[in-house]
Protein backbone atom coordinates (compact mmCIF):
# COMPACT_ATOMS: atom_id res chain seq x y z
CA UNK A 1 0.00 0.00 0.00
CA UNK A 2 1.37 3.43 -0.89
CA UNK A 3 0.20 6.95 -0.14
CA UNK A 4 -0.87 8.99 -3.12
CA UNK A 5 2.08 9.55 -5.47
CA UNK A 6 4.54 7.95 -3.07
CA UNK A 7 7.04 5.46 -4.44
CA UNK A 8 7.49 3.81 -1.02
CA UNK A 9 5.15 1.36 0.69
CA UNK A 10 3.25 3.51 3.18
CA UNK A 11 3.72 0.91 5.89
CA UNK A 12 7.41 1.78 5.91
CA UNK A 13 7.25 5.54 5.38
CA UNK A 14 5.11 5.79 8.53
CA UNK A 15 7.32 3.49 10.59
CA UNK A 16 10.66 5.31 10.51
CA UNK A 17 11.20 5.09 14.29
CA UNK A 18 10.44 1.38 14.39
CA UNK A 19 12.82 0.72 11.49
CA UNK A 20 15.58 2.74 13.18
CA UNK A 21 15.05 0.79 16.40
CA UNK A 22 15.20 -2.55 14.59
CA UNK A 23 18.31 -1.51 12.69
CA UNK A 24 20.00 -0.43 15.90
CA UNK A 25 19.33 -3.74 17.63
CA UNK A 26 19.78 -6.11 14.66
CA UNK A 27 22.44 -4.18 12.64
CA UNK A 28 20.65 -5.17 9.43
CA UNK A 29 16.99 -5.06 8.35
CA UNK A 30 15.18 -6.24 5.24
CA UNK A 31 12.01 -4.40 4.21
CA UNK A 32 9.97 -6.53 1.82
CA UNK A 33 7.61 -5.20 -0.86
CA UNK A 34 9.36 -1.91 -0.32
CA UNK A 35 8.47 0.10 -3.40
CA UNK A 36 5.11 0.82 -4.91
CA UNK A 37 4.68 -1.84 -7.62
CA UNK A 38 4.46 0.63 -10.48
CA UNK A 39 7.64 2.39 -9.39
CA UNK A 40 9.38 -0.94 -8.75
CA UNK A 41 8.83 -2.07 -12.34
CA UNK A 42 9.92 1.33 -13.68
CA UNK A 43 13.12 1.01 -11.62
CA UNK A 44 13.62 -2.57 -12.80
CA UNK A 45 13.21 -1.53 -16.41
CA UNK A 46 15.67 1.35 -15.92
CA UNK A 47 18.20 -1.00 -14.29
CA UNK A 48 17.88 -3.57 -17.08
CA UNK A 49 18.51 -0.93 -19.73
CA UNK A 50 21.61 0.42 -17.98
CA UNK A 51 25.00 -0.03 -19.54
CA UNK A 52 27.01 -2.38 -17.34
CA UNK A 53 30.76 -2.95 -17.31
CA UNK A 54 32.69 -5.96 -16.03
CA UNK A 55 34.26 -5.00 -12.72
CA UNK A 56 36.84 -7.35 -11.13
CA UNK A 57 39.21 -7.13 -8.21
CA UNK A 58 39.90 -10.82 -7.54
CA UNK A 59 40.54 -10.19 -3.85
CA UNK A 60 37.32 -8.25 -3.38
CA UNK A 61 34.63 -8.69 -6.01
CA UNK A 62 33.62 -9.86 -9.45
CA UNK A 63 30.43 -8.59 -11.11
CA UNK A 64 29.12 -6.16 -13.70
CA UNK A 65 28.27 -2.66 -12.53
CA UNK A 66 26.73 0.54 -13.84
CA UNK A 67 25.48 3.91 -12.76
CA UNK A 68 22.00 4.72 -11.52
CA UNK A 69 20.36 7.53 -9.59
CA UNK A 70 17.36 7.20 -7.29
CA UNK A 71 14.52 9.63 -6.58
CA UNK A 72 14.86 12.24 -3.85
CA UNK A 73 11.96 10.65 -1.93
CA UNK A 74 14.00 7.46 -1.56
CA UNK A 75 17.17 9.31 -0.59
CA UNK A 76 15.23 11.30 2.03
CA UNK A 77 13.73 8.11 3.45
CA UNK A 78 17.18 6.54 3.75
CA UNK A 79 18.64 9.68 5.31
CA UNK A 80 15.91 9.71 7.97
CA UNK A 81 16.88 6.17 8.95
CA UNK A 82 20.65 6.20 8.60
CA UNK A 83 21.49 9.91 8.74
CA UNK A 84 23.64 9.32 5.63
CA UNK A 85 23.69 9.94 1.92
CA UNK A 86 24.78 7.08 -0.33
CA UNK A 87 26.20 6.67 -3.80
CA UNK A 88 24.32 4.06 -5.78
CA UNK A 89 25.31 1.63 -8.48
CA UNK A 90 23.68 -1.30 -10.24
CA UNK A 91 25.36 -4.64 -9.67
CA UNK A 92 24.63 -7.68 -11.82
CA UNK A 93 25.97 -11.07 -10.73
CA UNK A 94 26.04 -14.31 -12.66
CA UNK A 95 27.73 -17.68 -12.20
CA UNK A 96 31.21 -17.25 -10.57
CA UNK A 97 30.52 -13.69 -9.36
CA UNK A 98 30.81 -12.56 -5.72
CA UNK A 99 31.58 -9.69 -3.39
CA UNK A 100 33.78 -10.50 -0.40
CA UNK A 101 33.59 -8.96 3.04
CA UNK A 102 34.71 -5.36 2.92
CA UNK A 103 34.88 -2.44 5.33
CA UNK A 104 32.33 -2.00 8.08
CA UNK A 105 30.27 0.60 6.27
CA UNK A 106 26.56 1.31 6.24
CA UNK A 107 25.08 -0.17 3.10
CA UNK A 108 21.83 -0.16 1.15
CA UNK A 109 20.76 -3.01 -1.14
CA UNK A 110 17.68 -3.04 -3.34
CA UNK A 111 16.94 -6.51 -4.69
CA UNK A 112 15.65 -6.39 -8.27
CA UNK A 113 15.77 -10.11 -9.03
CA UNK A 114 12.77 -12.22 -9.94
CA UNK A 115 12.68 -16.01 -9.56
CA UNK A 116 16.00 -16.46 -7.77
CA UNK A 117 16.73 -19.41 -5.48
CA UNK A 118 18.91 -18.89 -2.39
CA UNK A 119 20.65 -22.18 -3.17
CA UNK A 120 22.25 -20.47 -6.17
CA UNK A 121 24.18 -18.08 -3.87
CA UNK A 122 24.15 -14.39 -4.72
CA UNK A 123 22.36 -13.50 -1.47
CA UNK A 124 23.49 -10.80 0.94
CA UNK A 125 25.41 -11.98 3.98
CA UNK A 126 26.62 -10.02 6.99
CA UNK A 127 29.27 -11.00 9.53
CA UNK A 128 29.66 -9.32 12.91
CA UNK A 129 33.38 -10.18 12.98
CA UNK A 130 32.88 -12.87 15.63
CA UNK A 131 31.71 -15.51 13.21
CA UNK A 132 28.00 -14.75 13.54
CA UNK A 133 26.62 -14.64 10.02
CA UNK A 134 23.24 -13.26 8.98
CA UNK A 135 22.06 -14.43 5.57
CA UNK A 136 19.45 -12.24 3.91
CA UNK A 137 17.14 -14.28 1.69
CA UNK A 138 16.80 -13.18 -1.90
CA UNK A 139 13.52 -11.29 -2.28
CA UNK A 140 12.38 -9.25 -5.23
CA UNK A 141 11.46 -5.62 -4.36
CA UNK A 142 13.12 -5.74 -0.95
CA UNK A 143 15.33 -3.10 0.64
CA UNK A 144 18.12 -4.18 2.96
CA UNK A 145 19.80 -1.63 5.22
CA UNK A 146 22.91 -2.36 7.29
CA UNK A 147 24.15 0.12 9.85
CA UNK A 148 27.91 -0.20 9.41
CA UNK A 149 28.52 -2.25 12.55
CA UNK A 150 28.85 -5.48 10.56
CA UNK A 151 30.74 -6.61 7.47
CA UNK A 152 28.75 -7.12 4.27
CA UNK A 153 29.31 -9.56 1.39
CA UNK A 154 27.47 -11.21 -1.48
CA UNK A 155 27.72 -15.00 -1.62
CA UNK A 156 29.47 -16.61 -4.60
CA UNK A 157 26.97 -17.44 -7.36
CA UNK A 158 27.25 -21.16 -8.07
CA UNK A 159 26.67 -23.31 -11.15
CA UNK A 160 23.06 -24.09 -10.21
CA UNK A 161 22.18 -20.52 -11.23
CA UNK A 162 22.64 -21.49 -14.89
CA UNK A 163 22.23 -18.38 -17.01
CA UNK A 164 20.16 -16.51 -14.43
CA UNK A 165 21.42 -13.14 -13.21
CA UNK A 166 21.10 -11.43 -9.84
CA UNK A 167 20.41 -7.72 -9.95
CA UNK A 168 20.91 -5.26 -7.08
CA UNK A 169 21.12 -1.55 -6.60
CA UNK A 170 23.78 -1.09 -3.95
CA UNK A 171 24.37 2.12 -2.01
CA UNK A 172 27.63 2.62 -0.18
Amino acid sequence: MTSKNSIINQHYSTQISAIKKALSSENVVQLQEFFDKEFYYTLLSQARKSKLKQDVDIFEYRYKSGKISLPKEFEDFIKKITGKKFKYQIIELEHKDYSLIHDKKAEIAIDLTENWLNGWGGYLMYNDGSGNVTKIPSKQNSLTISNGKIFGAIKYVNNHSGKNKKLYIIGR
Binding site: G121, N127, N158
Partner: protein, 200 residues
Protein backbone atom coordinates in the same frame (compact mmCIF):
# COMPACT_ATOMS: atom_id res chain seq x y z
CA UNK B 1 55.56 -44.04 2.87
CA UNK B 2 56.58 -41.42 0.32
CA UNK B 3 57.24 -43.55 -2.74
CA UNK B 4 60.96 -44.35 -3.14
CA UNK B 5 61.09 -42.99 -6.68
CA UNK B 6 60.27 -39.58 -5.22
CA UNK B 7 62.33 -39.86 -2.04
CA UNK B 8 65.53 -40.35 -4.02
CA UNK B 9 64.80 -37.46 -6.37
CA UNK B 10 64.32 -34.64 -3.87
CA UNK B 11 67.44 -32.80 -5.04
CA UNK B 12 66.27 -32.98 -8.68
CA UNK B 13 62.91 -31.58 -7.70
CA UNK B 14 64.55 -28.63 -5.96
CA UNK B 15 65.40 -26.76 -9.15
CA UNK B 16 62.01 -27.53 -10.70
CA UNK B 17 60.24 -26.28 -7.59
CA UNK B 18 62.17 -23.02 -7.44
CA UNK B 19 61.95 -22.31 -11.19
CA UNK B 20 58.25 -23.03 -11.60
CA UNK B 21 56.01 -20.00 -12.11
CA UNK B 22 54.19 -17.99 -10.88
CA UNK B 23 55.88 -18.81 -7.55
CA UNK B 24 57.74 -21.94 -6.37
CA UNK B 25 55.48 -24.97 -6.81
CA UNK B 26 55.57 -28.58 -7.90
CA UNK B 27 53.14 -31.38 -8.74
CA UNK B 28 54.14 -35.05 -8.36
CA UNK B 29 51.98 -38.04 -9.21
CA UNK B 30 52.04 -41.39 -7.38
CA UNK B 31 53.52 -39.63 -4.38
CA UNK B 32 52.74 -42.07 -1.56
CA UNK B 33 52.57 -45.82 -1.64
CA UNK B 34 49.21 -46.32 -3.34
CA UNK B 35 47.85 -49.02 -1.02
CA UNK B 36 48.85 -46.98 1.98
CA UNK B 37 47.07 -43.89 0.67
CA UNK B 38 43.95 -45.93 -0.10
CA UNK B 39 43.86 -47.00 3.55
CA UNK B 40 44.15 -43.35 4.61
CA UNK B 41 41.27 -42.45 2.31
CA UNK B 42 39.16 -45.27 3.75
CA UNK B 43 39.96 -44.12 7.30
CA UNK B 44 38.50 -40.71 6.53
CA UNK B 45 35.12 -42.40 6.16
CA UNK B 46 35.02 -42.58 9.98
CA UNK B 47 36.19 -39.00 10.52
CA UNK B 48 33.73 -36.18 11.18
CA UNK B 49 33.51 -33.43 8.54
CA UNK B 50 32.00 -30.03 9.41
CA UNK B 51 30.30 -27.74 6.89
CA UNK B 52 32.36 -24.54 6.49
CA UNK B 53 30.53 -21.69 4.84
CA UNK B 54 31.58 -18.07 4.42
CA UNK B 55 31.86 -15.44 1.70
CA UNK B 56 35.31 -16.80 0.78
CA UNK B 57 34.60 -20.54 0.80
CA UNK B 58 32.21 -23.42 1.19
CA UNK B 59 33.24 -27.04 1.80
CA UNK B 60 33.38 -29.76 4.46
CA UNK B 61 36.46 -30.05 6.65
CA UNK B 62 37.71 -32.21 9.50
CA UNK B 63 39.23 -30.81 12.65
CA UNK B 64 43.02 -30.83 12.71
CA UNK B 65 44.00 -34.50 12.47
CA UNK B 66 46.09 -33.96 15.61
CA UNK B 67 42.82 -34.60 17.45
CA UNK B 68 41.80 -37.61 15.36
CA UNK B 69 40.99 -40.79 17.25
CA UNK B 70 41.56 -42.89 14.15
CA UNK B 71 44.99 -44.56 14.50
CA UNK B 72 45.81 -44.54 10.75
CA UNK B 73 45.22 -40.79 10.55
CA UNK B 74 47.26 -40.05 13.68
CA UNK B 75 50.07 -42.18 12.26
CA UNK B 76 49.88 -40.36 8.93
CA UNK B 77 50.22 -37.02 10.72
CA UNK B 78 53.18 -38.37 12.71
CA UNK B 79 54.82 -39.59 9.52
CA UNK B 80 54.56 -36.11 7.99
CA UNK B 81 56.60 -34.86 10.96
CA UNK B 82 59.16 -37.68 10.63
CA UNK B 83 62.75 -37.01 9.56
CA UNK B 84 62.09 -38.80 6.27
CA UNK B 85 59.17 -36.56 5.33
CA UNK B 86 60.60 -33.29 6.68
CA UNK B 87 64.03 -33.89 5.11
CA UNK B 88 62.34 -34.49 1.76
CA UNK B 89 60.24 -31.32 2.01
CA UNK B 90 63.23 -29.24 3.11
CA UNK B 91 65.44 -30.53 0.32
CA UNK B 92 62.75 -30.05 -2.31
CA UNK B 93 61.83 -26.55 -1.19
CA UNK B 94 65.08 -25.22 0.24
CA UNK B 95 63.09 -24.05 3.27
CA UNK B 96 64.09 -24.86 6.85
CA UNK B 97 61.01 -26.11 8.65
CA UNK B 98 59.79 -26.33 12.22
CA UNK B 99 60.05 -30.10 12.78
CA UNK B 100 57.35 -30.18 15.43
CA UNK B 101 54.65 -28.08 13.88
CA UNK B 102 52.07 -28.99 11.26
CA UNK B 103 48.42 -28.11 10.64
CA UNK B 104 46.56 -30.81 8.76
CA UNK B 105 42.94 -31.23 7.70
CA UNK B 106 40.97 -33.32 5.25
CA UNK B 107 38.57 -31.42 3.02
CA UNK B 108 35.60 -32.60 1.03
CA UNK B 109 34.16 -30.42 -1.73
CA UNK B 110 30.87 -31.43 -3.30
CA UNK B 111 28.82 -29.78 -6.08
CA UNK B 112 28.96 -25.91 -5.84
CA UNK B 113 31.75 -25.89 -3.21
CA UNK B 114 34.67 -23.51 -3.78
CA UNK B 115 37.51 -21.57 -2.20
CA UNK B 116 38.13 -18.11 -3.64
CA UNK B 117 41.51 -16.52 -4.13
CA UNK B 118 43.71 -16.00 -1.06
CA UNK B 119 47.41 -16.23 -0.20
CA UNK B 120 47.54 -18.66 2.78
CA UNK B 121 49.72 -16.24 4.75
CA UNK B 122 49.00 -16.81 8.43
CA UNK B 123 51.35 -17.21 11.38
CA UNK B 124 54.63 -18.64 10.09
CA UNK B 125 53.26 -20.90 7.37
CA UNK B 126 55.93 -21.60 4.75
CA UNK B 127 54.79 -24.58 2.67
CA UNK B 128 51.27 -25.52 1.61
CA UNK B 129 50.70 -29.11 0.48
CA UNK B 130 47.79 -31.10 -0.86
CA UNK B 131 47.46 -34.81 -1.50
CA UNK B 132 44.40 -35.64 -3.58
CA UNK B 133 42.32 -38.68 -2.70
CA UNK B 134 39.81 -38.63 -5.55
CA UNK B 135 39.96 -38.41 -9.33
CA UNK B 136 38.29 -35.50 -11.08
CA UNK B 137 38.20 -34.58 -14.74
CA UNK B 138 38.65 -31.14 -16.25
CA UNK B 139 34.87 -30.71 -16.49
CA UNK B 140 34.36 -31.50 -12.77
CA UNK B 141 36.11 -28.31 -11.57
CA UNK B 142 37.74 -28.47 -8.13
CA UNK B 143 41.07 -27.44 -9.61
CA UNK B 144 43.80 -25.76 -7.61
CA UNK B 145 44.78 -22.69 -9.62
CA UNK B 146 47.78 -20.47 -9.02
CA UNK B 147 47.69 -16.80 -9.99
CA UNK B 148 50.50 -14.53 -11.02
CA UNK B 149 50.40 -11.01 -9.65
CA UNK B 150 50.31 -7.41 -10.72
CA UNK B 151 51.66 -5.22 -7.96
CA UNK B 152 50.36 -6.71 -4.75
CA UNK B 153 47.24 -8.23 -6.26
CA UNK B 154 46.42 -11.50 -8.08
CA UNK B 155 46.14 -11.11 -11.85
CA UNK B 156 45.91 -14.18 -14.13
CA UNK B 157 45.72 -17.94 -13.68
CA UNK B 158 49.09 -19.46 -14.61
CA UNK B 159 48.86 -23.00 -13.25
CA UNK B 160 45.82 -25.26 -13.04
CA UNK B 161 46.02 -28.57 -11.17
CA UNK B 162 43.27 -31.17 -11.59
CA UNK B 163 42.80 -33.46 -8.56
CA UNK B 164 43.93 -37.05 -9.22
CA UNK B 165 44.29 -39.80 -6.63
CA UNK B 166 47.80 -39.70 -5.08
CA UNK B 167 48.71 -36.43 -6.81
CA UNK B 168 50.86 -34.24 -4.57
CA UNK B 169 50.91 -30.46 -4.98
CA UNK B 170 53.21 -28.17 -3.03
CA UNK B 171 53.83 -24.43 -3.13
CA UNK B 172 55.80 -21.92 -1.14
CA UNK B 173 53.78 -19.43 0.86
CA UNK B 174 54.66 -15.78 0.43
CA UNK B 175 53.17 -12.35 -0.15
CA UNK B 176 52.10 -13.34 -3.65
CA UNK B 177 51.14 -17.01 -3.30
CA UNK B 178 47.67 -16.26 -4.67
CA UNK B 179 45.60 -19.36 -5.32
CA UNK B 180 42.06 -20.72 -5.25
CA UNK B 181 40.05 -23.91 -5.63
CA UNK B 182 37.59 -23.62 -8.49
CA UNK B 183 33.97 -24.58 -7.92
CA UNK B 184 33.18 -28.28 -8.05
CA UNK B 185 30.68 -28.91 -10.83
CA UNK B 186 28.51 -32.00 -10.55
CA UNK B 187 28.42 -35.09 -8.42
CA UNK B 188 32.07 -36.16 -8.26
CA UNK B 189 33.35 -35.22 -4.79
CA UNK B 190 36.81 -33.73 -4.31
CA UNK B 191 38.47 -35.34 -1.30
CA UNK B 192 41.95 -34.24 -0.24
CA UNK B 193 44.23 -33.82 2.73
CA UNK B 194 46.01 -30.51 3.01
CA UNK B 195 48.70 -29.42 5.42
CA UNK B 196 51.03 -26.58 6.20
CA UNK B 197 54.60 -26.67 7.43
CA UNK B 198 55.94 -23.71 9.39
CA UNK B 199 59.05 -21.62 9.53
CA UNK B 200 61.82 -22.98 11.72
Amino acid sequence: MIDNKHLKNASKYKSLFSKNKPYPNLVLDGFFDSKYLSSIRNSLGSENFTHKDSDLFEFYQTDDLASSKIPQLSEFRKYLLSDEAINFMEELSGVKLDRKKISIHATLYTDTHYLLCHDDQLDDRRLAIMIYLSDLDEKNGGKLVLYDSKGKKPANVKVSITPKFNRFAIFKIGEKSFHEVTEVLGNKPRLAIGWWYYDK
